[in-house]
Amino acid sequence: MVLAIHDLVKRFDQPGGGQLTVLDIPRFEMADGEQVVLIGESGGGKTTLLHLIAGILVPDSGSIRLDQLELTRLSEQGRDRMRASKIGYVFQTFNLLPAFTALENVRLGMTFGHGRHDPSRAVELLDRVGLAERAGYRPSQLSVGQQQRVAIARALAGRPKLLLADEPTANVDPKSSESVLELIRGSCRDEGVALLMVTHSMEIASQFERVEKLDEINRVFAEVSNATATDA
């Protein structure tokens, strides 16, 4: 089991006072190497869930166990260390660092972990995503699709256990979208990395064997839905 979430609750302070519960997930689990797509409405808490799993945010209650490691018991430094060594993250907007070349961006993916500095791996990953000849290019010199490929290579550089992909095809054209998706899934399969992808596209979701709907696993939505049904 690479990921096990139990009774996870996340609330945010509201500007006018009080708190808004965004996530209330009784149970969510992923097996090693499993590929899961999570679909849901915009603003439904998909990104928040990914940030919680990555240790960027801290839950108000509940448990997140990643590769046998209980995240809620870790200090901030411990979560940073965990993120560097066990999590790969592909962002919707790629988030490549503009000051660095494609190769250096990939190397950044293994800079902050421990004992994972393998210079040849960055070159190998760039080769795998088809950008070996663009290793020295800055992000501004790459197309949108190429930038996302570099971002995928960076996410895999630290040999993570779980790859989190937050709408990775949202900003690429449909043709590139297909190849990006294939690249992510194929790379995760090759590396033995579990994949949790967030999307609102049913077309993409349909390609996954396991599809989870956030409004079904999140009790916040379930309660709202029930209340709506009762009112009706």
Binding site: H51, L57, E76, Q77, F91, L97, A99, T111, F112
Partner: protein, 484 residues
């Protein structure tokens, strides 16, 4: 990828801003290094100037600093004069008797040893007579011993050497009283050389020119001491110039002349001795008789002579303090240690001025460091997402803080080294001028001890300047900035 490489990449990415910030820091550092170098040069110049081969200056009672300034640096005005008999106190009985015999004076002076002769034994006492000018430069009346016995240079072991000519010599048939040796700067600035005649002005640079002229017989090589800007003339010639003889009554003068072996009233010192040139008994080595032979002028008698100061080197340095105290106990003279007076001058006047200058340049450095702060801090808004991405990739708060401080460090290191090189290049280019003016030679890599502190100080300042933006990086919220 190392953190410093990440910092370097960020530095390069904002090239224009980084270069301008670094350059402003380099200018600040350059100013500090220049001031430190000037401080070093001034200090060394003072020490060099005071390293003149003697350990005491004896002069009339008054300010020891003024005595040092006018006798060592040829600056300021002489306090008063000392009688020649005070000078004679540094000589043995035989030497004093010889002086009486040569110049004429109270015979009793030659019947005892000088009070301080025992303390000087093995050393020297060289008289100086000041008061005249050649152009803006001091005329220094002294004896040939000045060039024979004094040394200069950092180790006070270099003899005077001559660009052309020689030192003036004792009066003889070949060498007259009116010979002069010029310091290098005097010769260069006044455009005179060996064979030319100079006419000192009495009292001040604008004073009346003496009728008596001195023939330049030598020009000194540069020494980096005040001697470069002095015109040295034979003391006997100096005495013989109009207005330089101390007025004495006829009776004293007659007694003095008698002691010189002349008949009473046989001639007034400084005047042409009529008929004395006919004597067959004279030898060229006896100045007085040589004068007579040459139909020249008689040297002044001892009562008519005064000296402005006396340069003393004790044969045994252990005697110096004892002698200094003995002289102070008397009611006419004082003995000053030039090095001590120079150090006082440095600590009371020159030092504080340089420290004030140093303070101003340090403020410049702080302003440059604030520039570093502003530059990096302004860039932080554009970099929040980058920092959030690095955090999402596993970078700790401390890591991103270190990267920002690393950028400050890079600016400080490059700015510091560049500033140091700029300052030293400027010093190197002006090296010739500095050496001519002060005698201190400045190489490209000549450094003062204080300079070793500049780079660490600049790095520390830059790190402090980098703290605020680093703190901003530390506090950057990952979640909100990733989604922004």
């Amino acid at each position: 990828m190392s953190l410093i490489r990440i910092a370097w990449r960020n530095f390069c990415y904002r090239a224009l801003s980084s270069v301008l910030t670094t350059f402003s820091l380099a200018l600040g550092v350059g100013l500090v290094v220049l001031v430190l170098a000037i401080y070093g040069i001034v200090s060394e110049a003072f020490v060099r100037n005071a390293s003149v081969g003697y350990n005491l200056v004896v002069g009339p009672k008054g300010s020891a600093l003024q005595l040092t300034l006018n006798s060592v640096f040829y600056l300021s005005q002489p306090i008063e004069n000392l009688s020649y008999t005070e000078y004679m106190e540094f000589f043995s009985q035989e030497e004093r008797a010889e002086m009486v015999s040569r110049y004429g004076g109270d015979p009793a002076l030659g019947e005892r040893a000088g009070k301080y002769a025992g303390y000087v034994a093995g050393g020297f006492a060289i008289p100086l007579a000041l008061g005249d000018y050649y152009g803006e430069f001091r005329v220094v009346g002294t004896t040939p011993e000045f060039f024979e016995k004094l040394r200069h240079g950092p180790d006070v072991d270099q003899e005077f050497t001559f660009t052309e000519g020689r030192a003036f010599r004792e009066k003889s048939a070949e060498h007259g009283y009116f010979e002069a040796v010029l310091g290098s700067r005097v010769a260069r600035q006044m455009g005179v050389g060996v064979g030319d005649e100079i006419h000192p002005a009495h009292g001040d640079p604008e004073g009346k020119g003496h009728a008596e002229g001195f023939t330049v017989v030598g020009v000194l090589d540069p020494t980096g001491t005040p001697n470069d800007r002095a015109a040295f003339v034979n003391l006997e010639g100096f005495y013989l110039m109009e207005g330089h003889a101390t007025p004495v009554d006829e009776e004293t003068l007659a007694k003095a002349a008698e002691a010189r072996g002349e008949s009473s009233g046989g001639g007034v010192s400084g005047e042409v001795e009529s008929g004395s040139g006919e004597s067959d008994a004279v030898t060229a080595d006896d100045p007085a008789t040589a004068d007579a032979e040459a139909g020249g002028r008689q040297p002044l008698t001892i009562p008519e002579r005064e000296v402005t100061s006396i340069l003393i080197r004790n044969g045994n340095m252990m005697f110096a303090p004892v002698m200094q105290n003995k002289i102070k106990e008397g009611d006419r003279a004082q003995a000053a240690a030039p090095i001590g007076e120079i150090n006082k001058l440095m600590s009371y006047i020159v030092g504080p001025l340089l420290q004030a200058l140093m303070g101003i340049t340090l403020i410049t450095c702080v302003v440059a460091a604030v520039g570093v702060l502003v530059s990096i801090y302004n860039s932080m808004n554009d970099r929040r997402r980058d920092i959030a991405v690095m955090r999402a990739l596993g970078a700790r708060r401390g890591t991103v803080t270190s990267i920002i401080l690393g950028e400050s460090l890079i600016i400080a290191a490059i700015g510091g080294v560049l500033g140091w090189f700029l300052a030293h290049a400027a010093l190197y280019v002006s090296g010739g001028y500095i050496e001519r003016q002060t005698g201190v030679s400045v190489g490209l890599f000549t450094t003062s001890d204080y300079e070793l502190w500049v780079l660490p100080l600049v790095v520390l300042l830059a790190l402090v300047a980098g703290l605020l933006p680093a703190l901003t990086a530390y506090r950057t919220d990952v979640g909100s900035n990733l989604s922004a």
